[in-house]
Amino acid sequence: MVAFDKCETRPAHIDAILNGLDRYNPETTTVFQDYIQQQCEDRSFDCYANLALLKLYQFNPHLLQPDTVTNVLAKALTVFPSPAFSLCLALLPTNTQPFPATSEAQAASQTSDFVESVQKLARLSTLLESAQYTQFWSTLNSDDLYADLTADVAGFEELVRIRIAVEVGKTFRSITADSLEQWLDVRGRDALGKFVADVCGWKVEGDVVTVPTNKENEARSEVKSERVGVDMFGRVIRRGFEQAA
């Protein structure tokens, strides 16, 4: 597992800034902004670097670019399930109130387009994190604003679709084609067959999609035995020697 602060696709100059005090230097804001732009285009994702950008905005609110922030959030959606999205939210201005408790609170909090955008993306995140995939797609398609918010992220829908497929593959050995079509927002049996074959290596047989066995959907019972090492008895052994002497 790659450590949270590392990223295989991260360029050296970004790494240098992140590991030095320049990460606080407002002049590096533009460097990080270019970097998230690049991530949007080449479909890579570097959570730790994007958090550094949000931190610069946190310390220097006058530099905050709403479009860049929403791009960071939209990118974070494409790596669900993960804490990435909520870690980003924690660094945003508190008045964004991403999860208004009531519709009145929501109306009162939406003092700007930016706040509305953050709340809309947070709603998408909740739907993905709670595995309500059908509602995710219907929400995404319900309002043109969503299309605007995800427009800069190349392959947004495809990236999300792949993540959903991965999660399904961990839990299911087989699933009805109808359910999967809805979850993946893929229309028609042919399109579904092509997607699961090309992307996942699964097969559609009649009304059922079969997922080959993998480490996660195997769910094997086992008995884990205790690890026993000599070091655990070091104290007893030492005591034995001490008393003998």
Binding site: D5, E226, V236
Partner: protein
Amino acid sequence: MSYEDRANARPNLNDESDVEEEALVNDYREQVNYEDGMSELDRTTSLGGSQAQDLQAQLTAAATPLEYQATLETKFASYDNYCSLFHYILNSEGPVDLEAPSYYWAWDVIDEFIYQFESFCRYRNRIARTGSNEEEAQLLRENPNTWGCYSVLNVLYSLIQRSQITEQLGAMKRGEDPIAFAGEYGNRPLYKMLGYFSIIGLLRVHCLLGDFSLALKTLDDIELNKKAMFARVMAAHFTTYYYVGFSYMMMRRYGDAIRMFSHILVYVSRTKNFQKGGNGYDAIAKKNDQMYALIAICVALHPTRLDDTIHSAVREKYGEQFYRMQRGGPEALPPHSPDFDNPAVNVDPVDHHTAIFMDEVKNTLFNPTIRSYLKLYTTMDLKKLAGFLEVEPEQLRSWLLVNKQRSRQIRWVEGGLLEGDSAIANDLDYALEDDLIHVSETKAGRRLVDWYLRNLARVY
């Protein structure tokens, strides 16, 4: 532009000609009839007898809490005191020849410095939100950089750099002599301790500002074990584990969070008797209770076998009320001067972090229920289980997906705190064959080593 250059635009310790800062200070002094206009620099160039006493008084003051009802003037003055003291320590010619009043002094100073920063930010946000005190609001509006994030971070990073503590810790990790890497400052206990505790201070500040991954990254050079320097100061030991555990929790690494909270809670319960009445005991007792609440939350999200002492304490305190989860935290700080003209936008950061955390809690709240049902079966029809739970089958499919995801967590094995391997965090696993749930269980074999060791100890 380096960080130090950058800091020139802020209240600053490394640049003696900070005009802006000086102007702010003078301005402020006029307003409150500041009596003692003496510059700290003059004082340090000719350190005579009485002045040396002054300095000792200042050192003691820096480690002493402000009165509970301290006025805004006192808080401003305290900030100035810290600035001049740290300026003196960091920017005199060569290391200053000072003896810290006590062994705990370095920790107390950093702790109190951050505590005052924290309470000042809270206070300022409250004034801005409630609009209750126009006079104070005006004063705060005019001094946006007093107790600013950049100044506080600047102090901590400067102390870390001056003491070359990172290099020293690196050497210790490699098994080399840290003194060879300490430099002329870091060789002195005063600098070394201030630098070391500044790392712990940074952990806390990052955490309060909502940057949980950077908080954990900050501890890269410190190994969390009983031999660590922080372990010799109870409050430092406690603070470290509290904030590391908290950061892990916000990163959804509940297993790691539980490990941190348990470690320190067990430690506290074992040392309870000889801390009572000691400095800062009340603060520790309060945080201690918060931590039991946090551990209750983590266990609800991630069933774990706890240490017996902890387990009974958690049950005693939170048996029936696992769901009242806000009690323990999160803590948070507003990162910059609030908007005094728009009270409504100054949402309390604690509410902000709580809302974010609660969204995740809501997504996973049903997990324990599902697990308790699945435990009873080896195979189960999804629609039947949905009937038991009184939910739609589609809802149950979602829950099963979420529960599966959350039972895979990253868990620390070795290296930096942000490292870790994916681990199955649950003894219960399952897979769906269409609507048929196959349940499997990983059973732990009997644990004999502990039993054996305990009985051996009794016999010997």
